[in-house]
Each structure stands twice: as C-alpha cells, then as structure tokens.
Amino acid sequence: MVTERYIVKGDDFQAAGSASSAMKQMLRGAGVPMEVIRRAAICMYEGEINMVIHARGGEAEVSFDGQEITMKLSDNGSGIENPQLALKEGWSTATDEIRGLGFGAGMGLPNMKRNSDDLTIESVPGKGTTIVMKIKV
C-alpha cells in the first residue's frame, strides 16, 4: 500500500498540475499500467484544476493498494450548490478569464466520472467539497 499527500495551492495557475504530475510518477513507480495511469491522471488533473480555479486550493490524498487507486480531493472552497447539475456536461460557472486559459467548458466533473470506476461528491455549502474517485487496476 502506497499513500501520498499533495498540497494544491489555490489561484496558482502556474503551479496547477504539479500534484497530478507527482502522482503520475508515483503510480509509474508502483508498476500501474500506462493506460490506467492516464485515466487516473485525467481525473486528478481535472480535480486539481477545479481546486485551483474554484476552491482556493486544498489537499489530495492518493493511495494504491495493489488493486485499486483511490484519489481523495478535499478543497477549501465554498461548496458545490447542486452536484448533480455540476455533473452535467457543459454546465459551468467558470468566468471568461478561466475560459481564456483553456478551461471551463463544463467537462471537468463529467470527465472525472467517465474516467473513474466510482466517484462520490460530498459538498457542504460554505464548507467545501470532498471528491473521492476510485479506479480498479
């Protein structure tokens, strides 16, 4: 069982993706197949970008027990008012500035759901969001 924790800094668009990059390296070291790592990387990176642009950053904990990858993302944001709506493709609350950076097409959460085997969202308005994604290896 390997577990790593990554700090994601809010509003730091330059550094966004560094946690996902470190996770990729960790999973490669653990011998996870390339195509599974790519799915995990997409999930983690979409989540990391969301934490940076929407949620003032947070923490990611990734573990691999030899059979399953678990990614738990806990942010410092103000919560997602309607998680079901947020899972709909094209739904986005992103600003034009974020769109100018190449994100905010409303594909983030749907893409995380599509690339994971299981995704749960716990969100308390005013207190932040925790997303847990699992991928079988």
Binding site: F13, Q14, A16, G17, S20, S21, K24, M34, R38, A41, I42, Y45, E46, I49, L101, G102, F103, G104, A105, G106, M107, G108, P110, N111, R114
Partner: protein, 115 residues
C-alpha cells in the same frame, strides 16, 4: 509520420526536444480548449494549439503526448519549455494558422484517429 516530417510540412521551428525528432506519431489533434483535449482526445500523440500557458504543457503531459505544435507563431516562455523538456516532449511552432496546419498534416497522411 516522423516529427521531422511534421516540421518540414509546417515550416516549423523546433523550440525543444531536438533529439527526439525521429519518433513516429500516428495521429494528432488540434484545439485551444484544454477542457476538450482532456475530455475528447484518446490516443492522439500530438497537440496543435494556439493557446500558450503552462497548462498546455501539463495537459499534454497528462495525456502522454509526445509533441506540441504552437500555431499562429505563438511562442511559449522558457519555464514552459523547461517543463515540456523535462517530460521528453518535442515543442515546435509554426507561423501557419490552425486550419492550414491541420490540413497539411492530414493531407500528408496523418489522420485524427489511429488507423
């Protein structure tokens, strides 16, 4: 198609990864929207884009891409190139716009999907 051939077809300049130019790529994609690259791209190993920021490099890294071509003469800064180089990626830029860039590659046999 080798990356050297891509360079020739696009009249491109190599910005980093010169020693990896003989590798073969089988397909490519073109987009300025990284959200869509992450959601729709499957096995494409080269990205053509007119968007310039560090997240272009990160997106390509997450998708295991081998090469990024910046169109419309866009030029990433050195930290972005360092990031790409640290992952063994080739980065080029071309003065061509997106549509003719994709057109030239497609016409020369590089398709959007793996055959």
């Amino acid at each position: 198609m080798t990356l050297s051939k891509v360079k020739e077809l696009l009249g491109a300049e190599i910005l980093c990864g010169e020693s990896n130019m003989e590798q073969e790529i089988l397909s490519a994609c073109g987009s300025d929207m990284m959200s869509d690259v992450l959601a729709f791209v499957k096995e494409q190993s080269m990205l053509l884009t007119g968007l310039v920021n560090p997240q272009v490099m990160r997106t390509a890294e997450m998708m295991d891409m081998r090469c990024i071509v910046f169109v419309r003469g866009k030029r990433p800064d050195q930290p972005m190139l360092d990031l790409a180089e640290s992952h063994g990626m080739v980065v080029m830029n071309t003065p061509l716009r997106m549509y003719p860039s994709c057109g030239r590659l497609y016409e020369a046999g590089l398709k959007g999907e793996n055959a």
